[in-house]
Every structure is written in C-alpha cells, then in structure tokens.
Amino acid sequence: MNQHRHLTLVAAAASILAALPLSGVFSAWTWLVDAVIVVITVAGVALLVRSLRVAAWIPTAAMALAFLFVLTWMFQSGQELLGLIPTPRTFAHFNTLLLNAGRDMQDMAVPVADREGLLFLSTLGVGIVAIVIDLLTIVVRRPALAGLPMLAIYSVPVAVRQDSVNVLPFAAGAAGFLWLLATDNVDRVRRFGRRFTGEGRGVDAWEPSPLAAAGRRLATVGVLIAVAVPLVVPGSNTGLLERFGPGAGGGLGEGVGPGGAPGRTVDMYAVLSGELNNSRTFDMVKVTTNDPDPYYLRFGVADEVTPAGFRARSPGGGQPVSSGLPVPPIEPAVGVAWRRYRAQVQVTALKMNTLPIYLQPTKADRLDNSWLYDTANQVVYSRRSDSQGKRYSFEYIDPEFTPEALRTARPLDSSNLIQRQFTTVPRNSEVERIVSEITANKQTPYDKVRAIYNYFSSSNGFHYSLQTKSGTSGSAILDFLTNKQGFCEQYSAAMAWLVRAAGVPARVAFGFSRGSNRNGETWTLTNRNLHAWTEVYFERFGWVPFDATPASSVGGVESAWAPDPTRQQNASSGSTPADGLPIPGGPGRDPSAGPDPARADRLDGSSGSSGAPAPEPTPWPVWAALGAAAAALLLVVPALWRTLLRRRRSPHRIAGPRPLAVTTVAGSPDVVVTDESAIDVARVRAHAAWDELIDTMIDHRLPVDPAASPRTTAERLITGSALDEWAATGARLLGQAEERARYARQPLRSDDLTGSLRTVREAIAHRVSVRTRLRAIFLPASVLGRWRLAVTEASTRVAETVDQWRESTVRVFSIRRLLPGARR
C-alpha cells in the first residue's frame, strides 16, 4: 500500500507538471489554481480509497466521481444540490461552457484572459489527464504510456501558438514524466526485496541509487537535447501567411484594463476567418449615414510585420473622444474632394474594445470618457468598455482623390518616421524580385502602388476563395503569390507587403466592406461583411485605402484611385477615369448588384452550402433516437454474428457432393460413408454440428470440459441438463458423429444432424433461465470469448513484435557490443 501511496502522489505531481505548458495559452494563472485544486482533490480521493483494500478499478472510479463533484463545485450553475451534486442543469451549464469555449477559441488570440468556458475546458482536460495518468501508472502499471496524455496537453500550446513555445514548461513536463518513470522503476525493484545500491550499505527505500546515476544522466541529457536541438534547427514559417495571425501579445486592447473589466484580446485575423467561415449569418452593425457613397467602416489596423505576417498593435495614446477629436490638417489640393458627412452607428453583435468608424472622424457623440482616439492608427478604442450594444454618432470627412492628384505625391524622405516605420518588411529575395518586376519603369509612388494593385487582379490569375492552399515554398507570402488563391486576409496582407517592399508605407486595416444590405441611408453589416484591406500612405494625402480583393467577391467599393483592374483593362488600357470620380452604377456601387460574400461563395461553386441560410439545428430527440439506434445496433452485433455463424455451420448448408456410395460395413451397426469426397463432407458436417453444439452450450453457460471427449461431453450434457429422451438421442448422435469424424476411419453419415442440433438447442434453451437465454441470444459467450481471445492474441503478437524490434535495436545500438569481453 505504501508504494501505491507514493506512486499516487508522484502521479498527481507529474500531472500538474505536465499541465504547465498550458501557461502559454492563458495570460493569467487562474487556470493553474483550478487545475491544482482538481488534481489534489482527485489524488486525495485516490489515496483515501487505496488505503482501504478494494478492487483495482474502484480508486479510478472514485477519482472520476470526485472529479465530477469538484468540477460541479468549481463551475456552478446555481442549480446543484448542496453545491456539489450535479443535476441535469449542471450538465447543461457545462455544455454551455464548452460551447462558449469553442466560440472563444474561434475568435480569441493567445494568450487569452480568464474566460470561464476556457477555464472549464482546461480544468476538465487537466482532470481527465490526471485520472488517466493515475490509471496508467498505478492500475495498469505502464507509466511509460502516461507520456501520451502529457504529450496531448503539451500539443495544445504548440498548436495554438504561432511563435515558439517557452522551453521551461516543456522541461517541467518532461521532468515530471521522468520522475514518474523513475519512481515506478524504483518501486518495481523494491518488490524483489532489498535494493542493491553498490555502496555496501542499506539505503532508504526511496533514496536514489548510485547505480541509477547513469540512467539519470541519460535522462537529463535527453531533455537537454530535446530543448536545445530546436534552437539550432532553423525554423520554418510555412503556413503563416495563411493565417497572418498576430503573435503573442499582439492583439488589440490587450489584457485587463485599469478599470478591472475583463478585456478581451481579439485576434482580428481569427475573427475574420472564423466569421467568414461561419455557416450562420447574423447582423453585427447597423450604420446610417448621409454619405451617398460611404467607404468601409473601419475598426482596426495591423502595421507590425513579422515573418509570420502582419499583426495588430494595441492602440495607445490619444485622448478621450468626448473632449473632441483632432481635426486632420486639410490641405486644399487639386483633384481632392473633402466632404463632410454624419453617421449613426448601432453595434448589435460585435464585442471589441475598438469602435467601427468611418475615416476621417472629426467629432463623436454619445461616447463616454473611456473611449480614446488613437491618432496614429485612427482607431477609437477603450481599455474599459467594449463595443457591444453601443450606439453612437460621429461626423467624418470622406476624402476622394483623383489618380492625378495622388501621382503628385513624392516619395517620403527616408528619415521620415512614417517611412521608417511602415516600410520595414522581412527580406525575401523572391518577393523583391517580383516587386521590382512589377514596378519596373514606374516612377511615382502612386504608379508603383497601382501596378502592385493591378498585379492582384483576376486577369493575373488571382481568385477569391475562402479556402486557401498551402504551398511548398516554405514562405507563406510566396505560397499565396504562387497559388494565387485566397481571401481578403491574403490579399490585404500581401499587397501591404509588396507595397512596403517597393518602399512605400503601407498597413492593413480591418473593418466591414460596404455590403449590399441597404435600406435608404441605413446599411446593415453582417459577419460576412467583415473585411481587411490595405492602406497606403502618400505625402500630403495621408492614408489612402486600396482594396486588392476583387470587389465583386466581397461587396467592396471601387474607388477612383483604385478602379477594378479587370474592367479598367477592358475599357482602355492606361487611361484613368476622366473626372476622377467614382463611376456610378459600377458593380461595387450598385447595392443590389454588389454580391455579398455569401453569394460569392455560391458563385465559387460551393453549391450554396455555406451561403444558404443555416439549416435548423437538428433537435435533440433526433440525436437521441439516432444514438439509441446506434447503441441498439451495437448490441445486436454479437447476436447477428452468432446467427451468421450458426447458419454457416448448419450441416446441410455445407457444400459438397452428397455421399453417393454408401455401404454398410458388415458387423457395424452404423451406416458409414465410403466415397472419398463424401467422407470429407460428412466429416466437415459432423465437425460443424459439433462446434455449433459446443458454442450453444457455452452460450447457455453450460460447463464445457476441454478434457472430456465428445462422447463424455454429450453424456454430461444429457445428465447435467436432464434432457428428455428425444434430445438425449440427438445429443448422442452429435457426439457420435463428431467422435467418428475425429477418430474413426469412416465418419458417420447422418442426415439428421441439423434436426438433432435443433432439438438439442431447444431442449437446452428450455432448461435454462430466461436471463441466461437472453444472454445467450444477445451476448453469446462463445462469440465474445472468441473475440476476446483474438484481441489478446493480436496484442500479444504486437507486443512480441515490438519486443523483438526493440531487442534488435538495442543490440545494434548497444555500446556494450563494442567492449571487448562483453560479448556473449
């Protein structure tokens, strides 16, 4: 018992150590407190139960029960008995928590704040892993397998974090695993009696043995190598552009605000792809504006570029919007129209700590002091409140530029702060080659940007798809430039990247495309309208939006300075619209003609599955019925199997020529078969009938003695089950047939085997209780036993193969082999 106690404690400690890598997912440590409480409770219960002498499975069951109780206590719905005993409401609450966790996972970036759903998920996971580790270590005595659940935990941060995962939690988890292995081995050795330590003195039971020093050294070296090797191997950034996700700590409005309200770190790329792929369409924002042709509603910016792509920087600085917004310096210039408009926004289903606004806001109403304006990013944000349910109005200036005007913008001085900040981009020779190709012979920044903008046109092979393709180039941006398939995420980021590579400041903006749902002056924006585009900085003009994503695919807006490249080519190459004003009636203009992404999806050929209104969720009774049907099906599998086997064994079904030449051997009372092929048939039939009889006996829980001959077995069946005369004759016939088939030169030929079999089976079934009869039908012991045997044999074979393999490996790699004198 003592060593079990010790092992239980070590398993619990190892579980906690193994859970440490989760620290990379959460921003606070609340999850660890929860996990420790759960693990301690579960391990305590295990200790308590193990101190009693009970069957091996009982502690595990008790642990599971205790886990359920502690989970109920920690995540109460308020409906529990005594706060501990779960009720159906509790499980509904758990379900809600899990659903919440799923939603949070879809649109939050790591590290996440303490959301109850996520905490529940992590606690649930850690608890299950703790129980599994305990089960594997103490009950099954295979602590090596406990590494698998540990690895499962470790895979969570590895999977969700874009950047590298901290080394320390990994090392802690590995140490916990090794500790578990070492403890188990010491325990195994101790069972043989005194431990030999090589020091010639008695050592304490759990004192590390000097003999094991080599093993400990190997373990340490192993962990060190595991930690060090990834540092040396150059990392690959494959697949990162596909998400363009921000790395750690890069979300908007990071962490908890000073007010203490739980902030929410939103990964805007995650929100974008999550919502665009959402099968459900719902309204997020309603905006009413007197602008007849509004551009995109905008709420965020990503301007920091890493090899992993663009990532959002948390907005900072600025002043409260209630104290007025800085009026942008307006320089009257030729070809630039500044018009003032006013807009009211009602946020229905968008929970962020930034507010969607139009550029360039000049005055905001009905917003409290907590909302600040970040001048650099032109984002209204808050550290305390969120956008959910907000209603506000603001005035803004909608600029319109003509290409001629923009063409007058000169490149910024290299010492300019904006130029320095917004043109940094990871060096990539291939990208640079593409950029220099595109921008060859282009003099002004605007022409370069237009060339890059045109590069993404569908005539160049790019096409819009929510399904991205992963490539093989090892660089995500190159993958997109090669595969030419993606959606706004890829378009906006790739364009910003190329523009930056061309030496022009650029960034990625997030918001809503204009969509097509217009009712007078009111535009309703759904999750399908979420969008990302590129903003380019021009001297004297400020940030000018360019949307490289095909306008027709996203309900986008075509602007005078960035017309649809395909149409522009069709009209007249090289010329720009004369008046510099947006062309009315263009595809992006007409609200009714501008297809929304849902329709784009349909056009893409995905047959409307995602674009169509989401089907009604299947009601739970249907699921329950389906589950019950599946369970019932599973239940009848053994019975079906048994029936099939019986049919196949039915003597008259066994193929073969009927015995033709039948002679009566003089002096023998039986009719025996003499024809050679008929002999085989008769023999096989007798075997089949006998097998069926034996299986029937096994199914009906009648004793079958492997040391008894067919004759004895039949006699015992007759006396044991008190068979009537008729059945007894049948049983004897079956026994005799099998006996002759096995041991005589000539098998017995009898056409009555099938009939006898039926008689005997009915007689047996008649003799046993109803319960046994039902079990014989639905859980036939013969079939189950054979399956069990097959599984055992298969696992034994696998174990043997692995053992052989291991042995040969050890032999090959053994250093001992090289030592002289160590050979055997």
């Binding site: 002096g667 085989d680 096989v684 069926e692 492997p706 008894a708 004895t712 041991y743 005589a744």
Partner: protein, 344 residues
C-alpha cells in the same frame, strides 16, 4: 515385444461379428466363476489381446487366482502355474540344463514359462532375484539359458497375482518388472448380491475345474491380429503421448511412465475398442485405461506419499485436467476455406 510374430504368423484378423462372438464367449465363461466383476474380466482379456501381461493386485481372498485360472482355462492352450515362494529359484522359472547320461550331453529342461499362459501366483513372495528371471521372457518372449536362446510361444501371457506391499511376507516388485506388466487390475470386494450368489455356488466343488475351454491359441492369435488392425487416429496417438508425457512432468511424481507405457497404453486401448465393437480408438479408451496401465509404473514423490496421494489418484487427476487434442483430420474443405472459422 520386439520379437512378436508378424501378421502372417498370427493369422487373418477375425471379422467383427466373429470377434465379438469369441470374446463374449471367453468373458461369459470367466464370469461363470467370477461374479459381478465384468470390468476386471474384460480388462484382463484386453491385456491378453494387447499381447501384454496382467498383474492382479489385491488383498487375499477376493478371487485373484481364480480369475487367473479361469482365464487360462477358457482358452485351450498350454497353461503353467508357478507358485512363487521365498525359496523359488530363477531356474525353476526359466528351465535348467541337466546332464543326460544317455546322450552324454547337457539337455535343456524347459521351466514353467514355456507355456501360452503362465499363472504366477503370489509373485511378490519370491525374492527379487527370482522375479528377475521373468524380465527377459516377459519383454522379449524368449529365454536364454547357458547362452542358448529359446523362443516362447504365441500367445504368451503372464498373469500374476500379488498382495499389496503392506502385507507381511512380501517383496516389492522391481520397477523394471512392474513396467513389463501391461495392466494392473484390482479385484475389489464383490457386491452383496454377487457374494450371495457365490455362497450358493461354492457350496461344494471348485467350479473352475468344471470350466471348459471356449477358444484356442490359434483363435487368440487371430484375435490379436484383429486388435492390431484397430485404427488409432493422429489425435488419439497425440493424446496418448500427452498423457504419458504429463506423468513425466507432474510435480507429484518422482518417476513418470516410460515410452513402453505409451506403447502398451495404445495397444490396450485398441483391444478395449475392439472388445466394445469399434474399429477405432477413442480418447475415452485411453482415459479409462490410464489408471490400470500407468498407475503401477510410476513412483510418487515423498511429498505426495506423505500427503497420502496414491498413484491412482495422481493419474486420475492428470486425466481429468489434460485437454483432449482437438486436432482434426485434414480435409480439403479447410484449405479451400469453405468451412472454417467458428472452429473450436
């Protein structure tokens, strides 16, 4: 038994009906004097048909000698009786060369073993020296005296009786000789009815003397030939070997059964099968014969003796627990896969 005669010398096998008639006649004849001991009588006959020797071991007065005599008298052949006494000499058994004055040469005077059936009464009252004289003739069916080998007739059978070793004035039989006895049977006390019947019949004369032979040596040879032709399938042979092997591996036994035991076990099983009218051996035959054929050859360990486990009980235990080989005769249906899996 390496010098046993060939099939031709034995004669043709008897047809089943005739075989049955002859054996039933012998059994019925013996049962006229031994009431209620049908199993023992059949076993004794089986030992004879299996070309073996019979050892009847029991307490005095249960009819051992009577069984031996009745069996011998039922067959019209030469029968000799040796009363084993402590002063019996080997030459009394085997024969001796005496100097013939007339021919001026040594002349062999055959001993008691030169007969078809030798009844050795109270065999364990002679010294082991004398008993050893039987070793050669029982196994090799020949006698070697003064360097000359004399073959014995067929059938040749030694029927010996003995008292249990606990009785006074007995010597234990050497292991080698015990191993030469194919079957050891115990008579056991008769049941009340048989004993009453015995009282009625035994009022006056010895009825054994009234027994008339119902068969002769030639017929017995043909019976033996018939028994030799009984089929023993591979599974049965396998089972016989397993049974004997298990006695060698049993933790209760110091000495297991010999390969000769395997041979004799299967032979006797053939005889029993034939007596039951079958032309094939069943595992049941082996099971029923395991104790009579194996138990007297094996030596239990000191622990088993201390815990008063008899060799009979040990052998019976082995029989009860040893699975029967379920190996079946090969059939083309197996290889073609028309009938396969549910096989046990």
């Amino acid at each position: 038994m390496t010098t046993q005669r060939t099939q031709d010398e034995l004669g043709r096998p008897l047809p089943p009906l005739e075989f049955r008639a002859v054996t039933e006649a012998i059994v019925a004849n013996v049962e006229r004097v031994i009431e209620g001991k049908s199993a023992a009588v059949r076993l004794a006959l089986a030992a004879m048909l299996a070309e073996g020797h019979l050892l009847i071991e029991d307490v005095p007065g249960v009819g051992k000698t009577k069984l031996a005599k009745a069996l011998a008298r039922s067959i019209d052949c030469t029968v000799r009786r040796i009363q084993f006494t402590p002063d019996l000499l080997p030459s009394d058994v085997t024969g001796v060369s005496v100097y013939n004055q007339e021919s001026r040469d040594f002349e062999f005077k055959p001993g008691a073993v030169f007969a078809n059936i030798v009844v050795g009464d109270e065999i364990n009252r002679a010294s082991p020296k004398t008993q050893s004289a039987l070793l050669e003739c029982m196994e090799e069916r020949q006698v070697t005296v003064d360097g000359v080998t004399y073959p014995l007739q067929t059938p040749f059978m030694v029927i010996a009786t003995q008292n249990p070793i606990e009785m006074e004035g007995t010597y234990p039989l050497p292991e080698a000789q015990r191993d030469r006895f194919t079957v050891r049977i115990a008579m056991g006390y008769p049941d009340v009815k048989s004993e009453l019947a015995m009282l009625d019949g035994h009022g006056g004369d010895d009825r054994v003397l009234d027994l008339l032979p119902v068969s002769d040596a030639a017929t017995v040879r043909r019976l033996i030939a018939t028994v030799r032709g009984v089929h023993a399938s591979d599974a049965v042979r396998q089972y016989a070997v397993s049974l004997v092997t298990t006695t060698r591996e049993s933790p209760d036994l110091r000495l297991g059964a010999s390969p000769r035991a395997t041979l004799q076990l299967l032979r006797t099983a053939r005889a029993v099968a034939a007596l039951e009218g079958r032309d094939y051996v069943l595992p049941d035959d082996l099971q029923s014969l395991a104790v009579p054929v194996l138990a007297h050859r094996i030596i239990p360990t000191a622990e088993a003796q201390l815990s008063r486990r008899t060799t009979d009980a040990i052998v019976a235990d082995i029989v009860r627990h040893l699975p029967i080989p379920s190996e079946r005769q090969r059939s083309p249906y197996d290889t073609r896969g028309q009938y396969d899996p549910g096989r046990r």
